[in-house]
């Protein structure tokens, strides 16, 4: 009975989602962005300007302004987005490469938060009692932390070589950990609430009275019912994490130079506010990516939970 209903709910959701054109647009943009990130080396090869390549012949070094030569930040067929001031790096390939860092960190940080949050939420909600009390207090502690301040502090004190890693890989792992680790209580609360309400339902009682062991109940009965909220929350957490990563990079504790990141590019652009093209492209890239995830996430939520429409 339950299973039939579950499947049809999924089908209904899928039908609704298919009809939601805006969400589909969001989804397509996400797919394109992911493809862009994966294929970045190929795309950039086709463009012909690696992200870290200097093109100082396109910079006004003679006049001393260090601004890109030509109009609109040196936009041309060769450099469709223009070039950076000072070193003349191609903005388009930097923006494309920036998507890799952004998406990679956002995805894995989300995965980390969702994993921790789900496990903690289920454990807390299902066992109740002191376990619940302990985990709930832990969540309170996490939520009481001034998150961003803390993240900057932590990202700032870790040296450049640590835990057997260095360079970009260290920074990426570090950022995934910081972003992911601090975000779990949010999903933890949702899962906990869902678990508690599901636990109260008959079907779990029924399974329990039939002598099913606890882990079995946990995974066969609870998890399928948690899939929808977790899916929705994850989709909506990704854009939050993209913004988080961008913020950390903007504040100078993200992935190190010369690796291109959107937040880092914006941070570089601050000192060149008279050349708006420089801040426009990375800003737009963040905007479009986050918007796409939000659109898709909203659509997914509406499809899975029609009440919220």
């Amino acid at each position: 009975m339950r299973k039939i209903e579950g499947r049809s709910l999924g089908q209904i959701a899928w039908m609704r989602l298919k009809r939601d054109k805006v969400a589909i647009v969001g989804f397509v943009v996400i797919v394109l962005l992911i493809l862009m990130a994966i294929l970045a080396p190929l795309i950039v090869k086709a463009i012909g300007h690696p992200p870290n390549e200097f093109n100082q012949d396109l910079i006004d070094t003679q006049g001393g302004t260090l601004a890109p030569l030509g109009r609109f930040g040196g936009m041309s067929w060769d450099h469709p987005f223009g070039v950076e001031p000072v070193n003349g790096r191609d903005l388009m390939s930097r923006v494309i490469y920036g998507s890799r860092i952004s998406l990679l960190i956002a995805f894995f940080a989300t995965l980390l938060s969702v994993t921790i949050g789900t496990v903690m939420g289920i454990v807390s909600g299902f066992f109740g009692g002191w376990v619940d009390a302990l985990i709930s207090r832990l969540m309170d502690v996490f939520l009481a932390f001034p998150l961003l301040v803390f993240a900057i502090a932590l990202a700032g004190v870790i040296p450049d070589d640590a835990f057997g890693l260095q360079g970009d890989s260290l920074r990426i792992v570090l950022l995934i950990f910081i972003i992911g680790f601090f975000n779990w209580p949010y999903i933890g609360r949702i899962v906990r609430g869902q678990t508690i309400s599901l636990r109260e339902r008959e079907f779990v009682d029924a399974a329990r009275s039939l002598g099913a062991r606890r882990p079995y109940i946990l995974f066969t009965e609870l998890l399928p019912n948690l899939v929808a909220p977790i899916l929705v929350y994850s989709t909506l957490l990704i854009p939050t994490n993209i913004l988080f990563e961008a913020a950390l990079s903007f504040l100078g504790v993200g992935v190190r130079a010369p690796t291109a990141t959107w937040g880092g590019m914006l941070s570089d652009a601050v000192t060149f506010y008279t050349m708006p093209h420089f801040m426009l492209w990375p800003g737009l890239a963040i905007f479009i990516t986050v918007l796409a995830f939000n659109l898709f996430g909203d659509g997914l939520r509406d499809a899975l939970d029609p009440r919220s429409r």
Partner: protein, 604 residues
Amino acid sequence: MSSTFTTSGSDKKGCTTTMSIKRLRTVAALSAVVALALSACGGGGGNDNGTAAGGAKNEFNAGLAAVVNPSDKKGGTIKMGHSDTWDSLDPGETYYGYAWNFARLYGRSLLMFKPAPGKAANEVVPDLAEGLGVPTDGGKTWTYKIRKGVKFDDGTEVKAKDVKYAVLRSTDKETFPNGPAYFEAFLNLPAGYKGPYKSKGVNTDSAISTPDDYTIVFHLKNGFGGFDYLAQLPQTMPVPEAKDTGARYRNTIVSSGPYKFANLQPDKSFELVRNDKWDQATDPNRKALPDKYQVSLKVNADDIDNRVISGDLDIDVSGTGVQPASLSKVLTDPALKAQADNASLARLWYTSINPTVPPFNNIECRKAIQYGMNKASYQTAYGGPFSGGDLATTLMPPLVPGYEKFDLYPAGPDSKGDQAKAKEALTACGQPNGFTTNMAYRSDRPREKATAEAFQQALKPIGINLTLKGYPSGDYFSQYAGNPPFVVANKIGLATNGWGADWNDGFGFLSQIVDSRVIRPTGGSSNTSVRIPDVDKMLDAAIAETDTAKREKLWAPIDKRVMEEAVIYPGVYAKSLLLRPKNLSNVFISEAFNMYDYLSLGVK
């Protein structure tokens, strides 16, 4: 010198702070004979203060050699902005050029640099003292007579003991960690002396004696001819012991100059208002034209530029030049450009090539860097020809007496490096296909970041792959790029660096970056790459040379010898593009500070 605050590449005045105590002892031993030579450069050459009617025309670089808008009109308020916090207002601890420049408004050191445009500013003239120091005992004792009638802002007269106390307290480096460390190195202080706070009641007459209220005598361990340079440091500005509050004195300074503090809010703003106890008759150097100085701290740097352009603010007090965004504005607008001065600094931005890190133990591999690097992109990374500086091929900047132009590693007609020669060098080094190494830079300095990126790009075509390592500037020398074991362990082949002397002098400029004896195994030295026994000997010989003209000729060979070893890659001789205050009079650039002279300004 490193600073945790600065982001725009502004540097501490000195950078000689690194002078290790041990090194300074050696120097002192040698410098007795130099005494006359150094003071010689303080004599003569003084044209008048440039207040002749008319003054310089309002055009680009007008303030470099002449006074713009000369006037004796009194009154008005000068508004200054600073994008950061003041390093320290305490004369015992301050160590930035702009702060030394500014400190003269509220404090009177024994001597001072002459407030005059152009070269004349390098002359040391008496201030609180009646005359220059009188050396005896082979430069081991220096006697200064203090002017009578100079008063603190509370009305008490400045006595010799106040100067003595000021100098002694500045030697407590635990309380005043960031100040210059010359006095404790040169003065014959009792063993284990830790300053007047910790060593209370200790008799310090062996170091400074005050035979009467208006005489102060410095007793050095060894003779030092250049002591007058030390006597112009803000550390000799008198501090009344009764009103000293140690580390907190920076908030409660008792003025001895024409202005005193008002409305001081640490890290935010302060004002200088007239000190009515100051007497013009005791002061030949100051005109004290404006009624008031207003200084706002922690103002957005771009905002400062815009407000200086609009006239809402008079001066960016840090004197480090305009922000990148304003650069294009100023240089492309003829009216604005006419309102700017492009000052040269006695400072070199360079990159250390560490021979302790293979394969840089082979000189050919170091040469590959010298040839392979694109010098033009170094300049661009530092801000271009106006805001960054001129292409450098030597260690000593042209402003330093004794500078000689040479270029051992020509970078090609367009200064983009000589790839053919670089490859030749690589082959000679036994690394024809290149190699991989690391490059350190201060991550909170955009210009150093750009420099490191420029190296990475320029060296890639010849097969040298750089991994960039950003370190916080606060720990850059003590823990990272200036820490020899760290450099070796982490294979820091290249490290961005910079150097400017406390005053324009070959010794002050070179010794800290080329003398191998200043390298400390525990870190903290700016010299990370130069270990040439020849050079150490040549330095000692130069300091021992008594004849100024001859001595100045000895610096260039040292410079050349270091360049032959290819352990330093010179980038640019620093310059800064300064916005000339619109509404002020008596505006000129002091070559002693390489920025506008804050003592002479008036309001139009």
